[in-house]
Structures are given as C-alpha cells and as structure tokens.
C-alpha cells in the first residue's frame, strides 16, 4: 500500500486509485464536474487541479498514486487555476439561475461562490444556443447551461449501454444530442443523466418548474416497481413550506424521486419506472370502508369482516406481495392460522415494460414476493373452488376467478370497480404513508419511511390484521 502526502498529511492509498479518489475518501474535498465515481475518467472540466510538489499542477482525477508523492489541494497555484477555470466554464453559461430547476443543488453555483466569487472578466457577448431541446419526452436539454462535462454521454455508453447521447460539433458550439436511432428515448435508465448533470442543462420534464429544490425535503424509501427494491429518496414539500393558497394537494404530493445512493442494491442509479412512482401512488384513493358498496365506518367493516371470518369454513387469503415485512409477519401472526394463505402478484408487467436487464430491472414487478413466499409458501395464487370466504389484500386479483358463492373481504388502497363488489371493503394505507421494510431478490432488507400523514378514513394494515383476528375491539 503506497503512502502519499496530501497537504503534508500521510494517507494510505490503493495502487490503482487516483489522487482525487484518495483525497475524497479521506474527507479532503477537491472540486470536480466531469469525474464521477461510477464513470470513466474524461478529464475535460479541469477543475480538480492538484499540485504535485516539484512537478506542477495537473488534474487530480487522472493523477495515479505513486508511493511517497506529495500533493497540495489548496495551494495558491491551485486556487488561481481553479478560479481561471471557473471563469472559462462560465464564459458562455447564461447564469439564469432564477429560472433554473437545478439552482440550490447546482455544483457550478456552489463552486462559483466557493472558488471564484468574481463576475465574468469577459466583455464579449455570450454564445447563445438552443434552450429547451427535447432529448426525449422525459428530458429537456438547455445547451446554454451545458458545460460539456460529458457525464451524460459516458453514462449512456458505460452504464445504460444505450449509446443514446453524443456530442456534436466542437469548441463553443458543441452540442449534446441524442442518437438518430432513438435509443436514448427508449433507454429505461435515461433519467439518471438528470441527476449526474452537474449543472441545470438536463432537466426532468416531470419536475420542470414544479418547485424550487429548497422547498423540498427527501425521505428514504424503497422502489416497489420490481423485486430489485432499489433504494430511493422521495422528495416532497418541507413542513415549513406547505402552501396554503395554491393547490394544497402539493403538500402531500411526490415532487420527484431520486436514487438513494448505496452500495448494496442499486448504487447511484434507478430506472425510469422508479421515477414515475407518483403514477402508481397518486391514483385516486379509496377513502372509505364499504359493506357491499354501501359506505360504512372502518370499525363497522372490521366487525363485519370478523363475523365473516368466524363463520367461514374454508377461508382463503390472497396475500399482497406489496406488503412490508412487518405487515406480512403481522398477517401470519394474527390470521395465518385461520386462512389458507396464497401469495398473489399485485402487479404484472405492463405492456411494453422492460421485463429484465443485466443492470437493475427484474421480471417480478412486486417488491416483496420473496419475503411473502418465505412466510406463506410458493403455491400459485389459484383460489380453490370450494373456498367460501376470500380475503384479498392488495391489487391484482381477478374477481371472476373467485368461486361464485364465496364471500369477499377486500383490503385495497385505490379506487377500483371491485371495491363495491366485495362484501367488506376496508381502505388501507400506501407505502408513502407508513414505514416498513422490503426484502429484495438478493435478500437485502431495505427500509422505507412515511412521507405523508395517513389519509383520513384509511386503516393501517398491520394493526387491522390483529383487529380482524378478534384480538382488539
């Protein structure tokens, strides 16, 4: 293990590391735009300047470690280089932070205040370029803001392998452009380029002008889109920035979803389906319990359900593969002995959805099938013809397959025509309203936390199971 000296302090380094990696790993911050821990070294932004004593200044991201080397990250020479490079990078940058969605989490903004701080020295007019170029129906590109770090291009070449982006022309008229075969439009990981863009050049259509980022806070969660169970951050309005006069639905709405970086499951990436979870969670909710379609209170519905369960001779339960580990265990503890429990896939792959790939996406589109099968067995979700009571927990049950005479208890979250057909319907909370854990296909357990308060008139499934078993009043 070679030892190197950064700012006079000795640090252990790996022989195949670069000086930038050693510095960052030891808490010495060196600014960088084009370098990304998961991508190849491009070395084009030149901001990560490091001075090697006796040899002069060079970029840290491409400076291999040599035993005994002595480098400085904050010398006068490094500072003046950084300042000059920031002047160069912002030469044609429009500085339209007021209307840029990246403002507030923009590395260029931070570095300007940290390392430059002076206005542009150039007197020439800025080169104007395309604004709001549609890279796909999900991503907008602002070529004026682009600093040509090529992170997005390298992402499509090295991570998603769609080869969907490239840089056209050269010098100050260079443009990031999608390939003509439309492979970027079909790239299921395309939205990651919005996260890795260090400036506001690549912006997500779904978050476009929706909120300033400092109004938002993030809650760690788990993507339920497939059995990979990627860790995500759900961004929503901070309590102190709740709106009163505008659409108050914004206060409990998902503003955007970003990956929650981790080494166990998904690294810094998620697929586009994970970005669109609002489409799943923000469908119209079922807001009240029903008895054969007639509104009732949750307590009345639970009493009726308990009566049906007691009276049933051959009750069958279709267990949700979207239930958290805690809910599944609560179901087994309270109701497991009363029911023949079968694990049901709540969601089947949608038409045109990517079924499986070698990066993240898995064929089972439910987050917790593994844990549910571990607890309730792997029998297929086929309801036996002699069942006289069917408890359906979650979505994805074909009601035409339920035997004609059987009574139905349905625990659902969203509005669906089946809700009114069930003998007892009880609305239950969704993932963004409760905390829990999912066990993914690799056996890794990831936790999610509640983002929003539980909707009124909605029960918590974990507590409801004990109630249905008759333990609580």
């Amino acid at each position: 293990m070679p030892e190197i000296f950064i700012n006079g302090q000795p640090y252990e380094a790996d022989p195949d590391q670069t000086v930038l990696q050693v510095a960052l790993a030891n808490g010495i911050y060196v600014p960088y735009f084009c370098w990304h821990p998961q991508l190849s070294v491009a070395g084009n932004c030149r901001i990560c300047m490091i001075e090697e004593e006796g040899r002069g200044v060079d970029i840290g991201c491409n400076m291999p470690v040599k035993a005994g080397m002595r480098v400085l990250t904050e010398s006068e020479e490094v500072r003046s280089h950084r300042k000059a490079i920031l002047q160069f990078i912002t030469l044609n940058h429009p500085v339209d932070c007021g209307i840029c969605d990246k403002a507030g989490e923009c590395v260029l903004q931070d570095y300007h205040y940290e390392y430059n701080g002076s206005p542009s020295m150039s007197g020439d007019p800025k080169v104007r370029s395309t604004k709001f170029y549609d890279l796909s129906d999900r991503i907008v590109l602002d070529n004026e803001r682009c600093i040509l770090c090529s992170r997005c291009v390298r992402f499509t070449h090295e991570i998603s392998k769609s080869h969907g982006l490239g840089i056209e022309q050269r010098a100050d008229v260079s443009l990031v452009r999608p390939s003509t075969d439309g492979s970027f439009r079909d790239d299921p990981y395309s939205d990651n380029v919005v996260d890795i863009c260090p400036v506001g050049a690549l912006l997500s259509r779904s978050f476009f002008y929706k909120a300033r980022v400092w109004y938002l806070t993030k809650t760690p969660s788990v993507c339920p889109g497939c059995e990979r169970g990627c860790r995500i951050d759900i961004w929503h309005r901070k309590p102190e920035w709740q709106v009163q006069s505008l659409d108050t639905g914004e206060n409990t709405a998902i503003a955007r979803i970003t990956p929650h970086e981790n080494s166990e499951v998904n690294g810094p990436w998620i697929c586009n389906k994970g970005r669109d979870l609002a489409r799943i969670f923000e469908r119209r909710r079922a807001d009240g319990a029903m008895l054969k379609g007639k509104p009732a209170s949750v307590a009345e519905a639970a009493t009726e359900a308990r009566r049906l369960i007691k009276a049933a001779a051959r009750p069958v339960a279709l267990v949700s593969s979207w239930g958290s580990n805690e809910e599944l265990e609560a179901f087994r503890a309270s109701l497991g002995s009363m029911f023949t429990a079968l694990v049901k896939p709540d969601h089947l792959p949608a038409a045109g959805e990517v079924l499986e790939d070698d990066l993240l996406i898995r064929p089972d589109k439910n987050p917790n099938t593994g844990k549910a099968r571990e607890l309730f067995g792997t029998a297929p979700a086929v309801i036996p013809a002699d069942a006289d009571l069917v408890l359906v927990w979650g979505e994805g049950c074909d009601f035409s397959k339920i035997p004609a005479g059987a009574r139905i208890i349905l625990l659902g979250s969203w509005l669906a025509p089946e809700n009114g057909h069930a003998d007892v319907f009880i609305p239950v909370s969704i993932q963004t309203e409760r905390s829990g854990h999912y066990t993914n296909c690799q056996g890794v357990v990831s936790g999610f936390e509640a983002c929003f308060p539980r909707a009124p008139g909605v029960a918590d499934a974990e507590a409801l199971f004990a109630q249905l078993a008759g333990a609580a009043p």
Binding site: I99, V173, L246
Partner: protein, 192 residues
C-alpha cells in the same frame, strides 16, 4: 468552611413617591380625569361635526401624505405586452419572513426570453409584515411596494389573499429596463 451570608442584590432604586401618590386611589382618579376629559372633549367635537382625535378612521380615511418611501401595498410590474415581469424564481417567497408569498410557476416554450412566469402569484396580507425584503430580493424589479395601502382590511382572512391579476392591475407599472433578445436559431448553437 464558612460561607458568606446570602445577600440579595439590589438592581433598582427605591421609589420616591410622596404620601399623596402612595395613597393610590386619588392618583387613579386624577389619571381617569385626564383621559376622561380628552374623551369627552373629542366626543363633544365629534357630536358637533368637527374632527376630534388625531387618529385616522382607517380604512374609510387614508392619509394623503405618506412618505414617498413608505412600504405600502405590493405591485407586480408589467412587461411591455402587459404580462408580468416576474420570472417565478421564488426569491421573494423564500426571503419573506412571514412566508406569505406563494407562487406557481408555468412554462411558456414560445417565449424564450421569458420561459418561466407565474401562473399564480399570491400574497397573504393577513400575514405580510411590510418589511420590503421581497422587493430587495427580486432580481427582475418585478415586485415593488408603493406608498399607498388601499383595500387591505377584511372581515375574512381568506379575502386577504391578493392574486396575481390584482397585484398586476391595481396600479399598473411597466417601466422595466430588461431587453428582450430575439429567439435563438432553432437548429442549435451559433454566435449571435
């Protein structure tokens, strides 16, 4: 070990009231006679149709001599075509200590010089403290405060939200200095 006996520190002087003042009741009556006299004098003037107190009967009456730099009601300045100069950057809403400004942004792809604009811009005058930070924070001279303060009070808090079009139109101003450059070449980059 011996301890120093505790002595309460005295921070204030002793009162120097006379016996007459300490008798209290007579001083109370003297005070009441002063305020009562003023009340009766003003009431007498009011009954006979003259103005008594110096106070203004707001909102029926408003002062005509507000200082030019008085921080009164807000206006949103207009672009030459009458649309708001505001770019919905939320600087005013962010700096507002009363958090009484709410802005909903909208995108106009056909207007490259002004792609982001407020579709809603609302100020809650029941919470506004008239500090003027919003005016200072605005990078576009889009929000100003003028000295006049008409039509602020209401019997209902919900009526004290002033909407975008009220703010734009109650005292129209459009002397903005910003130039609106032509649309860039649609094919991509290029020098101007």
């Amino acid at each position: 070990m011996s301890r120093k006996p505790y002595q309460r520190r005295v921070y204030w002087n002793e009162s120097t009231m006379s016996w007459w003042e300490r008798f209290y009741l007579l001083e109370i009556l003297r005070g009441l006679s002063i305020t009562g006299g003023v009340f009766l004098r003003n009431m007498g003037r009011w009954i006979t149709g003259r103005k008594g107190a110096l106070t203004t009967y707001y909102p029926e009456q408003t002062r005509s001599d507000y200082a030019a730099h008085n921080r009164g009601k807000h206006i949103l300045t207009q672009r030459p075509d009458g649309r708001p100069q505001c770019i919905a950057c939320n600087m005013c809403a962010t700096v507002c200590p009363a958090q009484c400004i709410e802005i909903e942004a909208a995108f106009d792809p056909d207007d490259p010089a002004h792609p982001k604009h407020p579709s809603r811009f609302e100020i809650d005058y029941s919470r506004c403290v008239f500090c003027g930070f919003c005016v200072e924070a605005c990078p576009e001279d889009a929000i100003r405060m003028v000295k006049e303060v008409p039509d602020l009070p209401s019997g209902d808090r919900d009526d004290m939200w002033f909407r975008r079009d009220d703010l734009l139109g109650w005292m129209p101003r459009s002397d903005v200095a910003k130039s609106y450059p032509p649309k860039p070449d649609a094919t991509g980059g290029g020098r101007p």
